[in-house]
């Protein structure tokens, strides 16, 4: 049997997460009445618990909230926090499991892929994208440190720490920016979409990519150097590797030049440069 303090805390936390399960006898036995009754006082905590989390989730998933409408979005959040109550000390973590929750709780999850609802696919991808955007804000970055320059040899190029690439089934980045800019935003048609996210000077940029560029940057994010990543692209796209190498760096508007300007690349710290 648990100590009274432990029992009280377990009971009260359950009463916050599942208000309907808190019976009036237990409430009356736990709290003394003042100007506020125990039931009314507990209700303030119960309301605030849901409202606080909902407001934070709206802040972290503004485009998804727009797409679903506030009422439906709030319903999803309420289900989410009942199913997966917050664990972390930081509210930044609140949305971490939300995309997975949406995917796991979709009503057509047992249907064949081709028979699934497209709009649910879109909502899941949009949630994944917004979560990624949100994490870029406070992730460790390269601010205050040097970036690679055009003279940096390829074999010293590394992706900077605050960088990500992702693939989606819809143009979720386009939809997200339309919502943020208060432009008309309709559910986009299904087509593969590739995007890079990079932060410089504490500003996150979303950069649309072609498939080959995505494969290259994804390979580098997985730890490959430039030469190996170029070869991986050639293999996966069935292109001659020489052609891929030419496309990488020869023109003034090549990906190499463009991405260097955007701050994609850094060089290893001097102490480890000799290992490159």
């Amino acid at each position: 049997m648990s100590d009274p303090l432990e029992a009280t805390q377990r009971w009260m936390h359950q009463a916050l997460v599942f208000p309907q399960r808190a019976d009036s006898g237990a409430i009356a036995g736990t709290f003394a009445s003042g100007r506020l009754s125990g039931r009314d006082g507990l209700a303030i905590y119960q309301r605030s618990y849901v409202q606080r989390i909902t407001r934070c989730m709206r802040e972290q998933f503004p485009a998804l909230c727009h797409a679903l409408g506030e009422e439906l979005f709030d319903d999803f959040v309420a289900d989410y926090v009942r199913d997966k109550p917050p664990e972390s000390h930081t509210l930044y973590d609140l949305g971490r499991r939300f995309p997975g929750f949406l995917e796991d709780s979709r009503p057509d999850r047992d249907a064949p892929l081709e028979a699934r609802e497209r709009w649910i696919d879109f909502m899941v991808d949009l949630a994944r994208f917004e979560r990624l955007v949100f994490t870029m804000f406070d992730a460790p970055g390269n601010e205050g440190r040097p970036f690679a320059v055009s003279a940096t040899p390829d074999d010293l190029l590394r992706l900077q720490p605050c960088f990500a690439v992702a693939r989606y089934r819809f143009d979720v980045a386009g939809y997200y920016h339309a919502v943020r800019q208060k432009q008309p935003a309709a559910l986009p048609p299904a087509h593969l979409s590739f995007v890079a996210l990079v932060r410089t000077d504490y500003l996150t940029r979303t950069v649309p990519l072609g498939e080959a560029h995505y494969l290259f940057l994804d390979a580098m994010a997985g730890g490959m150097g430039v030469a190996d990543a170029l070869e991986a692209v050639a293999r996966q796209m069935s292109i001659e590797v020489e052609e891929v190498r030419r496309a990488w760096s020869t023109a003034a508007d090549s990906p190499r030049a463009l991405w260097l300007r955007m701050g994609f690349f850094v060089t290893p710290p001097p102490s480890t440069a000799h290992l490159a």
Binding site: L5, Q9, G41, Y45, S48, Y49, T90, V133, D138, R180
Partner: protein, 311 residues
């Protein structure tokens, strides 16, 4: 107030990301800032960089909301390590948190939940405060929370709990006079009697904030100017603590930096200082949907720092 616990810093303001640019453009007419520990301790982005810069120019203190000193869960040593690392970086005058618990069984409510004020709770919190102080290598400063319930099993009043806690651990106290008012109003007790019984000699810092008065009860909303009845309590508390460092919190519907400073300066008239008449408040007051322990200030407008490159 014990000189060992912390210096007298004057009038300070809660550091909110909405005001970052204005503060950095400074100099700001404020003596010091209080930073919410959790907004910065995990940050690898702009918030931490801004705090470092501000800490070079102003005294800062760290104020936490997730230590959960009263929880029966084990203390989160990873959290404490991150807090200690942040403290090493920004050299706060002190580190504070609340006499509360925020979760149990590894879950977090993100609220400051009240404790039953019993001998068991006191022994539990005393042991944990000692553990935290040993870990951080400095006294912990604990704040009285606002409360909407009282536990039937409580065997002492909150001032007595704090007195015995500070005697047993040497911890300092942060007296939130708005919380005193809100908790006493909701409990139907006398806030002046609360102050009279409180161990004011251990108070390092005072908090001021606005609350919503709904007639039948009050909610600690931090979304509006300080109410007259709280200013009156502040006058008493400031005198009884010998002029403890005083800070205004504003956490929801946060107005301009200038409006926050104007509200903060109202404190001077309750500290026996001759000041110019305060201008009429231009701050909008929230409606019926105001939230207790608001958390908007915990989530920066991350999405405002995202731009789209063309294909």
């Amino acid at each position: 107030m014990s000189p060992k616990l912390g210096p007298k810093l004057g009038l300070g303001l809660g550091l909110r990301h909405q005001h970052f640019s204005e503060i950095l453009a400074g100099p700001a007419e404020v003596d010091w800032f209080e930073a919410i520990s959790e907004n910065f301790m995990d940050s690898g982005g702009r918030p931490r960089s801004v705090l470092r810069e501000i800490a070079e120019r102003y005294p800062v203190v760290l104020h936490g909301v997730s230590l959960s000193i009263g929880s029966v869960d084990p203390l989160n040593l990873d959290y404490l390590a991150r807090l200690k690392a942040l403290a090493h970086e920004v050299k706060p005058a002190w580190i504070s948190d609340h006499l509360c618990w925020t979760g149990v069984l590894g879950l977090n409510s993100h609220d400051l939940l009240p404790l039953p004020l019993t001998e068991e709770s006191l022994a539990h919190v005393v042991a944990r405060v000692r553990q935290v102080q040993d870990f951080l290598g400095r006294p912990l400063i604990l704040e009285n929370p606002s409360s909407y319930v009282r536990f039937a099993q409580s065997s002492m009043e909150e001032p007595e709990f704090f007195r015995r806690l500070t005697e047993a651990t040497g911890c300092g106290l942060l007296l939130d006079v708005n919380n005193v008012y809100v908790s006493c109003f909701n409990a139907g007790t006398d806030p002046a009697a609360y102050l009279a019984a409180f161990p004011c000699e251990r108070v390092v810092q005072l908090h001021l904030a606005g609350h919503q008065d709904l007639g039948t009860h009050c909610i600690d909303t931090h979304d509006r100017p300080v109410r007259p009845e709280v200013w009156e309590l502040f006058r008493i508390a400031w005198a009884r603590t010998g002029g403890a460092s005083t800070l205004l919190e504003w956490d929801d519907r946060i107005p301009s930096f200038a409006d926050c400073l104007a509200e903060l300066r109202k404190a001077q008239r309750h500290m026996g200082m001759a000041v110019d008449p305060a201008p009429a408040s231009t701050v909008e007051v929230g409606g019926a949907d105001a939230l207790s322990t608001p958390a908007d200030f915990m989530i920066p407008r991350a999405m405002d720092s995202v731009v789209q490159e063309s294909a």
